[in-house]
């Protein structure tokens, strides 16, 4: 095993890492925005909103990520990075919607009753009473989702985006040292995941601090 090639290819690995980081970051932001909105809409008292949002989540959760990305890349002929981002966002937003909906629904019904009985409209109760309580509940499962985004971002290597996984392949093609490259890349993915988990834990502590 020749670990020196890792040093030799450090620029490539670094570029791959950066690409992975900013694709993951954009996908996290995008899927959170879409997923939270859909999740909140899906936990309203409206029968039709609930049905429509569950169509959205069912449709997207029963398709592999690859199939969604290929839709944008091959069928709609979008350029690689927008296609990848759109696929990632749609994919993860379905799971985040479910997580958010579960969090909102877990806030006791009595809270809604109390708010409504005081004369607040539904969305006022939602904003001041339900959402603050749901946020606390939702942070741990959301963290899991974000780690999933980071892992799923590796899919972009299959459409020639030069992320960390892609670089691993490249290094293997040039040096046949795929094992070392993959090990290094794995370590870097773990580092990125730990960074996200750490930030979310800090966020949780701040949110819980009264």
């Amino acid at each position: 095993m020749d670990w020196h090639i890792l040093w030799q290819y450090r620029a490539a690995l670094w570029d791959g890492l950066m690409t992975t980081v900013w694709i993951s970051a954009l996908a996290i932001v995008g899927s959170t925005v879409v997923g939270v909105v859909i999740g909140c809409l899906g936990s309203t008292p409206s029968f039709f909103l609930r049905r429509l949002t569950s169509v959205y989540t069912e449709l997207l959760r029963n398709l592999p990520l690859l199939v969604k990305v290929f839709f944008f890349y091959f069928i709609l002929s979008m350029p690689t990075i927008p296609a990848a981002l759109l696929g990632l966002v749609l994919h993860q937003s379905a799971y985040i919607a479910d997580v958010t909906g579960a969090g909102v629904r877990s806030v006791a019904r009595g809270q809604l009753d109390a708010g409504l009985s005081l004369g607040h409209g539904y969305w006022q109760v939602f904003r001041y009473v339900i959402l603050p309580q749901a946020v606390r509940i939702v942070i741990p499962p959301m963290t899991t989702q974000y780690v999933s985004v980071i892992k799923n971002s590796s899919i972009v290597a299959l459409i020639a985006v030069q992320d960390l996984t892609y670089q691993t392949q490249e290094i293997n093609v040039e040096t046949f040292r795929g094992f070392e490259a993959a090990t290094a890349a794995t370590a870097l993915y773990v580092v990125v995941a730990l960074a996200v988990i750490g930030s979310m834990t800090l966020l949780q502590r701040r949110v819980l601090a009264r």
Binding site: A108, G110, D113, G115, L116, L118, G119, Q124, Y128
Partner: protein, 243 residues
């Protein structure tokens, strides 16, 4: 003030409110009692449309509550409700619990709302707890805060849904005292409860419900001593043996 006319409500096949007609006049204190499942909580929750009815009419202070097109929030602002499980907002301090609705629904400033809130906290006997969180209070204190929160909107009617049923026995009295004081001030109150001592002290009428129907509707003394319906008599014998 509150008028129910031939109200029916179904939960699926269950006929939860069966041809209910009753009135509450301004300033009256009405106690509703009955076995569980009799529909008394449902009846209460229909007054501020937390539950919808399937047939009939409900009018509160001249406004039809059952009409789906009405702005129910305005009506609800005039009706205060106190729940069995208190339902205080756990993430807000006591004072914040009280001022949220006056600020967001009535548009009061923070100072105005806080002033009213502090007066009410003093009135229910716990002014020193304004900066505490609900979890730091006992059950009796929490329920008194809940009453103060409902009163902060200066409602015309107060609804109580088994307010003492979730309390440890030694705390029931402090809550009932607040309710008695409120009744003596002339507040229109509809109270679902098993606390017959309270009914005896301040209720103008006692209403007994069984299986979705109003079976007895009489002044307290008449209800307790001369209840006509056998179901009411059975219920009374079970309840009063506790006191």
């Amino acid at each position: 003030m509150i008028v129910f006319k031939n109200v029916h409500k179904f939960f699926g096949p269950l006929h939860v409110l069966n041809d209910v007609s009753f009135r509450v006049e301004p300033g009256e204190v009405v106690v509703i009692c009955g076995p569980s499942g009799s529909g008394k909580s449902t009846l209460l929750r229909c007054i501020n449309r937390l539950e919808r009815i399937d047939r009939g009419e409900i009018t509160v202070d001249g406004t039809r509550v059952d009409d789906a097109t009405r702005d129910i929030a305005k009506v609800r602002a005039e009706i205060g409700m106190v729940f069995q499980q208190f339902n205080l907002y756990p993430h807000l301090r006591v004072l914040e619990n009280l001022i949220l609705a006056p600020m967001k629904v009535r548009g009061l400033s923070r100072d105005q709302a806080s002033g009213i809130a502090r007066e009410l906290l003093a009135k229910v006997g716990i002014p020193e707890k304004e900066l505490s969180y609900p979890a730091q209070l006992s059950g009796g204190q929490q329920q008194r805060v809940a009453i103060a929160r409902a009163l902060a909107m200066q409602p015309k009617i107060m609804l109580f849904d088994e307010p003492t049923s979730a309390l440890d026995p030694e705390m029931i009295r402090e809550v009932l005292e607040v309710m008695v004081a409120l009744a003596k001030e002339g507040m229109t109150m509809v109270v679902v409860t098993h606390e017959m001592g309270f009914a005896r002290r301040v209720a103008h009428r006692v209403v007994f419900m069984d299986q979705g129907r109003i079976v007895e509707d009489a002044a307290p003394e008449q209800f307790f001593t001369q209840a006509k319906d056998p179901r009411a008599q059975v219920f009374l014998s079970k309840i009063l043996s506790h006191i």
